[in-house]
């Protein structure tokens, strides 16, 4: 069992938890993920590591309540425990040799982008961060990004905070103005990452994307997380759990990944509703 040491609501749907998992805390690097099971009957879900405290032996995760399992996880209180917590899995984000980086985060993806920005900042790279949210209420981690970025641009889809529009708008402006980046790293919804890649393409800037497909074991056994890359005109199957989660954005078949991500959409929606009803009932008693 893995004890929840601290829990904090970042916005009405996004929660931050710090969990005791000393072996994972010793090893995890930005870009890597863990897999957890909330309880004995629960499903396994992957969540990216949002930070570690090796001295205390804790690992920070940030998650959005989107389905049955995240709903259950969100109901866990400080001092309670999570059944299973394994990691760190996947390959850490490649940071060596990159002097000037642009980090583009969307929604809860910013939780994953934040430790990456922190790592580049620590290594002395020049960090530009563009973070986007649907509206002001969903904004998270602005202060953290401020302290790790040389330049920070905040966007909201509806203009309820900072600048209105999506993250590709300022990215395009910067690239068109001749801004040079060694690398663009984008983490967020698949559709957003697809458009970031499209925006960067005319300028030939390398783009790293962080994929988060459906996964079970996370150790290279089940193959559920497979995605198709196109390398030199040839289709290649890769596994996000052991080959990723970071990939060259120009090679990823996003449309396929978007389609595969919706495989259990109906089931998940139903399961989420059921879980909410159960939780409401148990609280009512």
């Amino acid at each position: 069992m893995y004890k929840i040491v601290r829990k904090k609501e970042l916005n009405p749907t996004v929660t931050q938890m710090e969990t005791e998992a000393p072996l994972v805390a010793n090893k995890a690097k930005p870009g890597q993920f863990i897999i957890l099971r909330v309880n004995e009957e629960g499903e396994r879900i992957p969540l990216t590591v949002a930070g570690t405290n090796p001295a205390e032996g804790t690992v920070k995760i940030i998650f959005q309540v989107v389905g049955a399992t995240t709903e259950l996880l969100n109901h866990k209180k400080e001092g309670e425990s999570i059944q299973d917590f394994v990691g760190p899995l996947g390959v850490a984000t490649h940071t060596e040799g990159i002097k000037k980086v642009c980090i583009v985060g969307g929604g809860v993806g910013c939780a994953i982008a934040m430790p990456v920005a922190e790592e580049f900042h620590r290594q002395g790279a020049h960090v530009t961060s563009i973070i986007g949210f649907r509206n002001k209420d969903l904004l998270i981690l602005e202060d953290e990004f401020k302290s790790f970025s040389d330049k920070l641009i905040v966007m909201t889809d509806d203009g309820s905070y900072a600048r209105e529009g999506n993250v590709t708008v300022p990215l395009k402006e910067m690239l068109e103005a001749g801004e040079q980046f060694d690398m663009i790293i984008t983490i967020g919804p698949l559709v957003m990452m697809k458009f970031v890649v499209a925006a960067a393409k005319p300028f030939n800037v390398p783009v790293t994307v962080s994929m988060n497909p459906i996964m079970i074991d996370g150790t290279g056994m089940c193959g559920g997380c497979r995605l198709t890359l196109v390398q030199d005109g040839k289709k290649v199957t890769k596994f996000a759990c052991v080959d990723g989660p970071d990939f060259n954005g120009y090679e990823v078949d996003f449309d396929e990944a978007i389609s595969r991500g919706r495989m259990y959409f109906e089931y998940e929606r139903h399961a989420h509703e059921e879980t909410c009803n159960l939780l409401k009932k148990s609280e009512g008693v």
């Binding site: 072996l23 299973d84 917590f85 990691g87 079970i216 150790t219 596994f239 052991v242």
Partner: protein, 469 residues
């Protein structure tokens, strides 16, 4: 008394009943049946069956104990060499091992050794009350990577010799392929849990949620005071055919399909982990895993299940009993067929149609057998113009796996072959001192018993190595 030429049948659930439940198919011998079958054993001098067993169970001796109705005594004889009797009695391919070389088999059916082993192990699990005696510790620490059949066997043998053994498991439950791969109806999970419990009583420490190569490396295990390491990390990434359509929704690897059903219990009512149920399913491949996937699909409610295999029944590598059971249950074997494309639904008028991107068919070609290939089996050749399509809603690819890269990529000096399998000598020793390996991590996908054999060989070698040190 004349010897009955026929092996005594083991009772099973009726095919039409079992095709709709996940309870065990085979029901096991009763005491009377076991006594009757045991009486067929000649107790011959040369004991070919013992050499035919990868872990050399002293077969005639345990059968003699059955004849004496000393079932616990029979169990103790099996237990001297096998750590997982209840598992082996169920999943070993006896027809190509002990029973194949049985002296009786020259004229009649061989003795039902597997069925007798199963009877003895189940009798012990039901009746034995004595806990295994924990041997005195010899102070040496050994780490085992993976709690599948090779790891559990290695752990058991070393623990019996007094070693302090820690088994690291990547998943949340111990058992490896015995829990994520082999279905409940063939190997009930309670039996695996019981075997793991027995090892714990012997003093083996089982630690879940640790991925060696990620959470800890092999080198760190040595730093932690382990003096030897056995790697039994199992099969790795699933293979795909690289034909169009394999990324469609509804295409599973057998590993994923079986893991969802077995480990994550997606077969239960209202499961937390989803799986596609019902419809028509094609399973591609002819091994035990393919049979397991096909029969699982059927039990999950599929209206029709195909096995699509490119060779003929004769070359089908699955255990004979599983093929017979599958046929009885109504699995439709499409032999000498090979898929060339998986087809998906696409509504040209509505890109948001929720059915878009889901499997709706599999296009295959018919094959004929040509000259024998390197494996000695006749090579299947495509019959031109023989294309046809099966309407299906899901496809399960069961065409093998490639070794897991996690340990190789984080262990300096650990040599692997060109397929990624860890290279070992006849003792299971790798290119690194003190590091041994066995099972699918070495051989690629094989059987439970051959993995157990490898775990046993390595345990012996580790003991000799640490005693000399």
């Amino acid at each position: 008394m004349a010897i009955d030429p026929k092996k005594l049948e083991m009772p099973t659930q009726a095919p039409e009943v079992r095709a709709h439940n996940f309870s065990e198919v085979a029901l096991g011998y009763t005491k009377e049946m076991a006594l009757k079958e045991a009486s067929r054993c000649l107790n011959c001098k040369n004991k070919p069956c013992v050499a035919g067993c990868p872990v050399n169970v002293n077969i005639p001796d345990f059968i003699m104990k059955i004849k004496e109705e000393d079932f616990e005594g029979a169990y103790q004889i099996i237990n001297e060499t096998s750590s997982l009797p209840a598992v082996c009695g169920r999943v070993c391919p006896q027809e190509s091992q002990c029973e194949q070389v049985c002296t009786l088999a020259k004229r009649f059916d061989p003795v039902g050794i597997g069925r007798l082993e199963r009877f003895v192990a189940d009798w012990h699990n039901e009746h034995a009350t004595e806990k295994p005696v924990r041997p005195e510790s010899n102070g040496h620490k050994v780490a085992i990577v993976g709690s599948g059949p090779s790891g559990l066997t290695c752990a058991g043998d070393l623990a019996k010799k007094g070693y302090q053994v820690t088994v690291y498991e990547a998943l949340h439950t111990a058992g490896g392929v015995l829990v994520y791969g082999i279905p409940e109806f063939r190997l009930p999970k309670a039996i695996v849990a019981k075997e793991v419990e027995t090892l714990k009583e012997l003093g083996v420490d089982v630690v879940p949620n640790v991925v060696i190569g990620k959470t800890l490396t092999i080198d760190e295990l040595f730093e932690m005071g382990f003096e030897a390491v056995f790697v039994g990390s199992g099969a790795g990434l699933p293979n795909f055919m690289n034909i169009p359509g394999e990324a469609l929704k509804g295409v599973y690897s057998a590993n994923e399909f079986l893991t969802r059903s077995n480990l994550m219990k997606a077969y239960e009512e209202d499961p937390k982990t989803p799986i596609m149920k019902g419809g028509k399913v094609a399973v591609v491949g002819g091994g035990n895993v393919a049979m397991d996937a096909a029969r699982t699909a059927l039990r999950l409610g599929a209206e029709h299940v195909y096995i699509v295999y490119r060779r003929s029944m004769e070359e089908l590598p699955a255990r004979k009993e599983e093929v017979e059971h599958a046929e009885e249950e109504g699995i439709d074997f499409r032999l000498l067929c090979n898929p060339v494309e998986i087809l998906g639904y696409n509504n040209p008028d509505d890109p948001r149609d929720p059915k878009n991107g889901f499997v709706n068919g599999i296009k295959c070609v018919k094959m004929e057998l040509g000259e024998p290939d390197a494996s000695g089996r006749r090579r299947p050749v495509v019959i031109e113009g023989s294309e046809f399509t099966l309407d299906v809603d899901a496809v399960v690819m069961s065409i093998g796996t490639s070794p897991n890269p996690l340990i190789k990529s984080t262990t300096k000096g650990l040599e692997v072959n060109k397929w990624g399998g860890i290279i070992v000598n006849e003792d299971g020793l790798t290119s690194r001192e003190g590091v041994y390996a066995g099972g699918d991590a070495v051989t690629g996908a094989a059987t439970v018993i051959s993995a157990m054999g490898a775990g046993k060989v390595a345990a012996k070698a580790i003991d000799e190595y640490l005693q000399k040190k």
